[in-house]
């Protein structure tokens, strides 16, 4: 009697609004990484945004409406994976609390949030990926995005996979775990303060001597890339998934 192979995990990709709109190549890199690791990936069409802008603006009702739609859109999957610690943190850590007092929905939200993972930690911690076959050249530095780091405990996972990319050398910047000043709407509502914070970050990135900056959240990446480019820096900025998937044909975030 032959033993049936366990079926491939079905992953719903929560692509995140920023990746969907600004940098689809991150989404395709995520798909490739998960397919290479044996997953069947789909991106349900009913998804939009995780609702974090509403949630952090104090708008609970709209957040809940979006959360309900998102939960429904992903109910059929074994896992829900987002290439962002911030959005994954929203889905995983904050959705259940939105339904306090509504038992049926709270239970649904918990079942949903249990299935949610950030992309890189999903690869390492759930799928057991320890290395990637990608090649690249140069020195990279990695910025820890706040939600991924502090809500989801992601620190070593991306570094481990980056270290497995042939030809790439990881060099740590000072204060890699300190916020880049993005903070969602914060960066426009308090633009001057945000600027002071990202200036500090840009100095640390430059000080690392790396020629490429990686992170796992497009919001932070766009903020840091925007600052580096405004300063005339040549440092390339990419989502870590692009490098891990060996998909670096697109120009870097914010261009060369």
């Amino acid at each position: 009697m032959t033993q049936a192979a366990s079926p491939a995990p079905r992953v719903g990709l929560f692509v995140t609004c920023l990746v969907d709109l600004f940098r689809p190549s991150v989404g395709f890199a995520a798909v490739k990484l998960m397919e290479d690791a044996g997953c069947v990936v789909d991106a349900p069409a009913a998804q939009t945004c995780c609702g974090q802008p509403a949630y952090n603006s104090g708008d609970r009702d709209d957040t809940r409406a979006i959360a309900e739609a998102t939960i429904e859109a992903f109910e059929e999957f074994d896992y829900v994976v987002a290439p962002s610690g911030s959005c994954a943190g929203m889905l995983k850590k904050h959705y259940p609390g939105l339904f306090k007092g509504d038992e049926a929905w709270e239970a649904r939200a918990r079942t949903f949030s249990d299935k949610v993972h950030e992309l890189i930690s999903f690869l390492t911690d759930v799928l057991g990926v320890t290395q990637v076959p990608a090649k690249a050249a140069g020195k990279v530095t990695y910025h820890d995005s706040c939600s991924g780091l502090r809500e989801l405990g992601i620190h070593d996972q991306p570094r481990k996979l980056v270290a497995s990319v042939k030809g790439l050398k990881l060099t740590e910047m000072a204060d890699a775990d300190v916020c880049c000043g993005f903070g969602g709407t914060f960066c426009v509502k308090y633009g001057e303060i945000s600027n002071a914070i990202v200036e500090e970050k840009a100095a640390n990135i430059a000080g690392s001597g790396a020629d490429m900056l990686l992170a796992s959240d497009l919001g932070c990446l766009m903020n840091m890339a925007g600052k580096l480019k405004r300063q005339g820096s040549n440092i390339e900025v990419r989502h870590v998934a692009e490098v891990l998937a060996g998909m670096t044909d697109q120009p870097p975030i914010g261009g060369k």
Partner: protein, 478 residues
Amino acid sequence: MQITSPTFKANAHEALHDAQLQRALGNVRSGFIGKRAKAVDALPEFEELRDNAKTIKDHVLEHLDIYLEAYEKKVEDAGGKVHWAESAAEARGIILDICRMNNARTVTKGKSMLTEEIELNDFLEASGIQPIETDLGEYIIQLRGEHPSHIIAPAVHLNKDQVESDFRRVHTDFPKDRDLTEPEQLLSEARQVLRQKYFDADVGITGANFLIAETGTSIIVTNEGNGDLTQTLPRVHIVLASIEKVVPTLDDAAQILRVLARSATGQEMSVYTTLSTGPKRASDPDGPDEYHVILLDNGRSSMLGTEFQDALRCIRCGACMNHCPVYHAVGGHAYGWVYPGPIGAVLTPSLVGVDKAGHLPNASTFCGRCEAVCPMRIPLPKMMRHWREKEFERGLNPAVARYGLKFWLWFAKRPRLYRLTTYLAMPVMGLFGGRKRRYRFLPFAGGWVRHRDLPAPEGRTFMQQWRDRDTLKQDAHA
């Protein structure tokens, strides 16, 4: 003090362009963080101690009335007097009465944020009584007519050379050509000036880090010993404490002390931990003849039972502001009231009203570093978000932000329309990104492009391309 929280943005602008302040703020970034990390790493049970500390305070907050009354009884058993004050004005009135009854002309003060909260110094001066700050940092800012910019390092916004010039301006009895370049020289001069004032003072006022219900003891921690001299030398000692400072037992205080100094300055313990229980007894060689405790509410009891109750666990260590990127950027004064940083962003709206302090809980990136280091595990970002919810409910947030959000949400809640709009818009936006793949200018994105370029979108959205891939796959199978 004048509340300037409503002009937070303007305050922040000024702070960001204040070269002296920016130089001084470097000390916060470089000093406190490393010292705390080292102290925490050296204590394997630190996380467990945090849990214990939280549990103790949570228990107290659930039974606050019982412990406060038990404490009051013990203070009175020891010969002290407890006064209950609901408001700042009431607390000031009680202090003034005690001072007048003792014909007080000068009052020495240990470091106390609560006396800042009730604006005691201005009030005493207006009543003809001279308050003298004895903590070095507080002494310095009193000379300058300023308020603390940090809850444990009140003068952290200043540089050494600024202090030197203040001392030269005020301490005119000292030789003009004296050397004041070293911090020790400044310290020694302040000590000489203050020494006689301790003896001359009629009343000493201190705050309290803990009130012990089982013994009626109040505890203060200091690094300079000024608190001891303030409370033992004058004839009258007044303790001003807010109601949430009470803990059941000395053991409880000892538990919390193990996380307090480590979180604050990275010390295992503060240099002085001073306990006082009632006035001098017949067998005591020194101590005050009168011992008063003022238990101040000033809005705290209205936080009990609400989503802000957890903030009352705060032990004022300052770790949240020491680790806050916003505090690092603008310093404490920009927050515009007594308590700056993340804890200030939660307490200020509670104590003075969210209509005045609405900026503070919004001026956070929610990076979560404050919560990660808070020894009492106060969920600071969550509480700031609760304040944002209150503001949203009351329509207090700016119209532009509100309508911008509504516009986005209108689409986000309609996936098909969202798809259609973004399918059409993103390729066009992508084209405008040009060869450089970024914008330097963009209408309606001024808040972003003023300070940084905006990376251009690649073109067609992910979902659009994904649909194509799906269609291709299906065609291949057909």
